[in-house]
Amino acid sequence: MYGMGVLKGLSVTLKHFVNTYLDDFKYGFLWIGNKRYTTEVLPKRQSAEARGIFTVQYPEEVLKPQERFRFVPFLVYEGSDENREYRCTACGICSKACPPQCIWIVRANDPETGRPLRKPAEFYVDIDICMNCGSCAEFCPFDAIKMDHDFELADYDRTLSHIHDIQRLGKPVEYYARIRPSYHASEQAEILAKADKSARAKG
């Protein structure tokens, strides 16, 4: 019969419509403020088993990025905010690997001898140019530069505020451990193993 195809298609839409409400009940019906889901329920609703629609209402509901998610780099430092010990040695590998060449490094010099030191005096990333590729983090031999999770960087000024200097780029190692726990853990394990090995070699 002419028109059957359209009706058949509409039955699919109807099914989706109903399923979304069924999912609401199945995974705990929730309408608090503007939120429809809790963070615990969301992964279930977005899983392969769920049947309904699972749109989230950004910015009221925010999906947690995956651990490997990458957005503009930051520099890891140890110690406190006032007394930052950057892991970076100013070796320049990241600035060489960076495809759009948006990393700028000034190496520090010893004030007395004038010899280069293994730390940066200045470090910039022009995030207008940064393409979030992750090459810098991938090739840094000292685990000093890492990719961030913070993607809400909207800004009123498009010039200097988009050139992140070392102050802005620096983030404590605790922050790194929080956003990339498994990377941090495996790096720590590697350091321990190395220390262990050298201790044994000495002992």
């Binding site: 298609g9 629609i53 995956q66 495809p99 200045e122 590729c133 992750g134």
Partner: protein, 589 residues
């Protein structure tokens, strides 16, 4: 159908190997054809004068019916420009031939009369390298505008904000005092114009060049009625980006049309030639941004061909899994948006997006980004799959996606309105499809079972059991349905790959930010979701490629747009365009 294609149809398929074919050419055209003896190069060099004869001979006597890629290389040191061709007979590797001409008089006969697929590619090569193809029916610039000064891919051409010939730039380390390119070189001072150009008094030859060919056909076709030239795009939702289609219409009927490109042109290839080999990888994401994993893969395979690096087993499997998931993502979008173009606003797209989001979740988990994946590396992949990835992917591949494909078919295929809009619209016969260089679903929808995963298996595709989807009517409906078939086949490959995947390392050798590449050239093509995607690389032994060319699927598939649309209504143009499935990031580069 023209006479020439009739004779092609009766031609026996060639059984010659590529080496035999070169031998035949050398024997038949002594003095005109010689082997390319340079270290690391392949193919034959043909004298410009006899190119047309040799090409016709190849097509008619050797059965080389498909010219895949035309491009050029600027050999600045010895003052020559080289036009490079890759052609295929069917199975097996490419037949490569080249023409070398003087840089001061770069004239090469056009091959459009032999292989119409050369049309856009010769225009591109003319535009970017300045090789003049004599006899081309419409030799205009294609990616830049008519009146653009210079040829951007020549080695002595410098772009605005030019800093240094090659990356990495010396100004970044160890004395990298930051500045913004814009401040150093403010807008207005970075323009180069010819010495005789007067900005206050000039005629816009770019527009004239676009409209003129159409106005001619418009006049020829119907003298008594008025034909109009109208623009579709470049800012129109149905052009899937910034494609502009200039149409000559008689009432509602399309008399002729011409796609106009370049609104998203960013000189990708020049950027690539400034970069080192590994640095190019994230840029390839931005070509076909719907299927960045496939584009990554194609580029990595091309570099691997050049260097001889082989990825470990596990990486091969991961690549195949990612590439097939990408194919599903692409086809979901293609069918969803095609329905949008017909007027079924957004319900079908959103349903398709639902599933796509789930696959993108997997990409984000593994690669760190949903669309700009940058996951494949030369000799492996970025990192191994994270914990829990496989389980998540299995649930999708074994359960959710097959169910979805069936359901989606129920939603759309029997719809009478859709069938009325799609069946018999935009027919592309098989012979023409081959001649104009159509690839991917566009070609297979026309009844040519040509799939590079089969005819020239790359990576580990020879290990999997799958069918090459093919449909025979060559209309919008078949091109739509074939995407369902291909999704089912992809799921089949995925299931096999997920069962067979071994443990082990995912990267050959140590990760490094530079790789050593021997001098030579390589062309590698893959069956990307949209069709044949090829990368042509020339290395001179430095860390940066001397030439980096992308054989863009979307651009070349558009060659046949005009002939598919003639005689249809304006609204059908939108549907036909949707059924080709293009990404403007790849068309314009």
């Amino acid at each position: 159908m023209s006479e020439t294609s009739q004779t092609q149809a009766t031609q026996e398929p060639s059984v010659l190997t590529v080496q035999d074919a070169y031998g035949v050419l050398l024997e038949r055209f002594p003095g005109q054809v010689r082997m390319d003896e340079r270290q690391g190069y392949e193919g034959v060099l043909i004298e410009a004068d006899s190119l047309l004869d040799v090409a016709s001979f190849m097509r008619d006597q050797l059965g080389i019916r498909y010219l895949s890629s035309v491009t050029g290389v600027d050999n600045l040191p010895n003052g020559q420009l080289e036009s490079v061709y890759h052609a295929f007979a069917g199975l097996g590797p490419a037949l490569v031939f080249k023409v070398q001409v003087d840089r001061d008089r770069p004239e090469v006969p056009s091959l459009v009369s032999v292989w119409p697929s050369a049309d856009f590619q010769e225009r591109e090569s003319y535009d970017l390298l300045g090789i003049r193809y004599i006899g081309h029916p419409n030799l205009q610039r294609i990616l830049t505008w008519e009146g653009f000064h210079g040829h951007p891919l020549r080695k002595d051409w410098h772009e605005p904000y030019y800093e240094e010939e090659l990356k990495p730039f010396a100004s970044r380390h160890p004395d990298g005092h930051v500045y913004r390119a814009e401040d150093r070189n403010p807008f207005g001072m970075n323009l180069q114009y010819p010495s005789d150009f007067d900005p206050h008094n000039w005629t816009d030859i770019a527009q004239a060049a676009v409209y003129q060919p159409l106005q001619r056909t418009a006049l020829e076709s119907r003298l008594e009625t008025e034909t109009m030239v109208i623009n579709l795009g470049p800012q129109h939702p149905s052009t899937h980006g910034v494609l502009r289609v200039v149409m000559a219409v008689d009432g509602e009927t399309v008399v002729d049309l011409m796609p106009v490109f370049g609104y998203l042109h960013r000189n990708h290839e020049k950027i690539g030639e400034r970069c080192t080999f590994p640095q190019i990888m994230p840029y390839t994401d931005r070509l076909d941004y719907i299927c960045s994993m496939s584009t990554n893969l194609a580029y990595a395979l091309a570099v691997e061909k050049l260097t001889g690096i082989r990825p470990p087993e596990r990486a091969e499997y991961i690549r195949v899994i990612m590439a097939e998931l990408t194919r599903i993502v692409n086809h979901l979008l293609a069918i969803g948006f095609l329905w949008n173009d017909v007027g079924a606003f957004f319900t079908p797209v959103v349903y398709a997006f639902n599933e796509r989001e789930l696959i993108l979740d997997l990409f984000e988990m593994a690669a760190g980004s949903r669309m700009m994946c940058n996951y494949v590396r030369v000799g492996g992949v970025f990192e191994d799959l994270p914990d829990g990835w496989m389980e998540k992917a299995r649930r999708l591949v074994y359960d959710r996606l097959p169910r979805f494909v069936d359901e989606y078919e129920r939603l759309v295929v029997q719809n009478e309105i859709w069938r009325a809009r799609a069946i018999g619209v935009g027919v592309l016969p098989a012979e023409r499809a081959i001649a104009v260089g159509a690839t991917g679903p566009l070609l297979r929808g026309s009844g040519v079972p040509y799939d590079i995963r089969r005819v020239e298996p790359y990576s580990i595709y020879d290990r999997f059991d799958f069918d090459v989807a093919v449909r025979f009517n060559g209309d919008v409906y078949d091109r739509f349905m074939i995407r369902f078939d291909e999704m089912r086949q992809s799921l089949r490959i995925l299931r096999q790959a997920m069962e067979q995947i071994p443990d082990g390392p995912v990267q050959t050798g140590k990760k490094n930010y530079t790789i050593k590449v021997p001098p030579g050239e390589a062309y590698h093509r893959i069956e990307a979701p949209k069709g044949e995607l090829g990368f042509y690389l020339v290395s001179d032994g430095r860390p940066n490629p001397w030439r980096y060319h992308v054989r863009s699927t979307s651009l070349i598939n558009l060659t046949s747009l005009a002939e598919m649309c003639r005689g249809h209504k304006i609204a059908d143009v939108v549907v036909i365009l949707g059924s080709i499935d293009i990404t403007l990031g790849e068309v314009d580069r």
